[in-house]
Symmetry: C2
Subunit: 348 residues, 2 copies
DNA sequence: TTGAAAGCGCTAACAG
DNA sequence: CTGTTAGCGCTTTCAA
């Protein structure tokens, strides 16, 4: 079925294509009567200008690419939602590219998005969370960023200077750690995450700092690495419960791990927060879904996406942009943490 | 910064643009030595052909639009994931369009996607789940579908004949209902959903049928409508618990509502499944995250997205496609349901 | 206020 | 096997 073009409209309205274009875009004055005539024909045929042709000439596609590791993890849909809202307001549509953190998928999508001439790319996860990334991956990102606007969310690529929007995860972690200490906890454990992931490293360091400030010993066994999923949380908690000296509080690298940890604890008949306090991180949907509801840290994921699009848009518009935007996290106190002293009494 | 074009490549490789195009697409034989020379120049400049220009002439954009109500609801990311995987394999990228079920957003996106000349649209939620939709909304969908391939997922638009991929939700609901009855439950209640939403209606009818088959009375008070969120689940469960005659099993319209229901029950000190069995629907991430884990119905959300893309692709390829693809749901038995007789004993 | 015509970057006949 | 050339559908000078 043949698509209608500006020529068809022009012909039927007895004007030139230039005039049709003018009424479409309002780029130049058109006599009212002419405009009406053109508009009538446009409506009659439900004409929709071909954005591809327009983009080709304008060198703006109105498309943004968003590369993220896992839309199945509730944190990321929230970032997407924030980004989309802002994008819609500025007339962009978003390509959602899911990589599962696989670097070859990231590369594929990076290439695909460039070919599609998106106006900019928002990048999350994968290589930008790695403590050390291969030089070629960094180079690839740098090359891409040299061709089009790119902003990194909650990550960084050392030696490549890119605009970033990040949550101050260390600050967030200090918040929960201090919260637990204030509740009287002295035996803290950190579970989940990976040594090779910067976010994990930042959290561990924050915990170390807070513990030392409070005169608590931070040893190598304070941390139990092991992933980011519910399954790993469960597994890690089992290990913790098997320890001869159980902690009174377990801090999880994220909500997923915390959910697994809570399950394992509950299965073992451990009272939360009676015998054990557990904390999450991210304040995803999960945190408030389980019982007891998780004390956690809100990253303000929505704002993360929103800011990213704003910055992208500024870059597209040739404005000068801030290289680093830091969002402050917020402690969300719920039911999974409690005072340690009361607990002792209750138990014995 | 000027983008490199086929002309630049052609010039530097001392061939014509046609030849460059040929090596790019493999559409015609090119002498090996020539190809090498062209390829070398391409690599040297990291040339990436402009997909907009290509799409303009080929009348294929390699883009798919996916319109859905809420990516924040864990069911939808799963559908997306299935769709994306299939789309990637066929070289498509996906525009994710989130509508929150708002009809004007659906309309906006429908128009936007058409302008962008996506190769097809996958539509979920909103108007296609309405028992009655305004004629103009139906017309809009029909018009859009007349211009490009469209497939509806888990929905329908009466009087508009479109390809659909759906879960047999009624069959799924029969599964859980029968499961509960087999466990000895006689007092069943349905909570959540809306009268105006087809999926709810189908479930209620399925429940009615199963109950009647089993000689159980289905009355108007068997159903408590009230939404699809965790919050509404909580609220509805509170109402159920306040009933003078409490049911032994509560069936929820989806996992979200079930999560809220479980929370409310737990808060009220009700044992699950000891005193009360609760079921969900969809088998989202939430179902297996909470304690007790939910008995629910898997929609095979992944396959839903996968099939939708496959059908879209067939339509693009001009193949004949099945109008209706029905996926069979699966009962997932977990911890939130239990035998009713045992319960009685335990309680008294 | 309007029209003619030159591209945007690519592909696809059609010749050679 | 390769080059020339005519568009794809739109925007945008430049003239009128």
């Amino acid at each position: 079925m043949k698509q209608i073009t500006v020529y068809d409209i022009a012909h039927e309205a007895r004007v030139s294509v230039a005039t049709v274009s003018r009424v479409l875009n309002g780029t130049a004055p058109v006599k009212a009567s002419t405009r009406e005539r053109v508009l009538a024909v446009i409506n009659k045929h439900q004409f929709q200008p071909n954005a591809l042709a327009r983009s080709l000439i304008k060198k703006e596609s109105g498309m943004i690419g968003m590369i993220m590791p896992d839309i199945g993890n509730p944190f990321f849909p929230e970032v997407f939602l924030g980004a989309e809202k802002e994008a819609r307001a500025r007339g962009y549509a978003i390509f959602l590219c899911n990589t599962m953190g696989a670097q070859e998928k990231e590369s594929e999508y990076l290439a695909l998005l460039q070919e599609k001439r998106v106006d900019g790319i928002i990048f999350l996860g994968g290589r930008i969370n790695q403590v050390r990334s291969k030089a070629e991956l960094a180079q690839e990102l740098a090359d891409c960023a040299a061709r089009l606007p790119m902003v990194l969310v909650n990550g960084n690529m050392p030696r490549v200077s890119l605009s970033r929007v990040v949550t101050d995860e260390a600050a967030g972690f200090r918040l929960v750690a201090q919260h637990l200490i204030d509740l009287g906890h002295r035996e803290l454990r950190f579970i989940g995450g990976e040594r090779s992931i910067t976010a994990t490293v930042q959290k561990v360091q924050a915990l170390k700092a807070v513990m030392e400030e409070n005169g608590l010993p931070f040893g190598p066994d304070t941390v139990l690495y092991g992933g980011f999923s519910i399954g790993s949380g469960r597994e890690l908690m089992r290990k913790v419960l098997a320890l001869e000296k159980r902690p009174t509080a377990v801090m999880c690298v994220n909500d997923n791990v915390a959910v697994g940890a809570v399950k394992a604890a509950l299965e073992a008949g451990v009272q939360i927060p009676g015998e054990l306090s557990i904390t999450g991180f991210d304040d995803t949907l999960l945190a408030s879904s389980i019982t007891p509801e998780l004390t956690t840290v809100s990253q303000n994921s929505h704002a993360l996406g929103e800011q990213a699009v704003q910055i992208l848009h500024q870059m597209v518009s040739g404005e000068k942009v801030r290289k680093l935007t830091v969002l402050e996290p917020r402690l969300i106190c719920r039911q999974s943490t409690g005072s340690v002293t009361v607990v002792g009494k209750v138990r014995d």
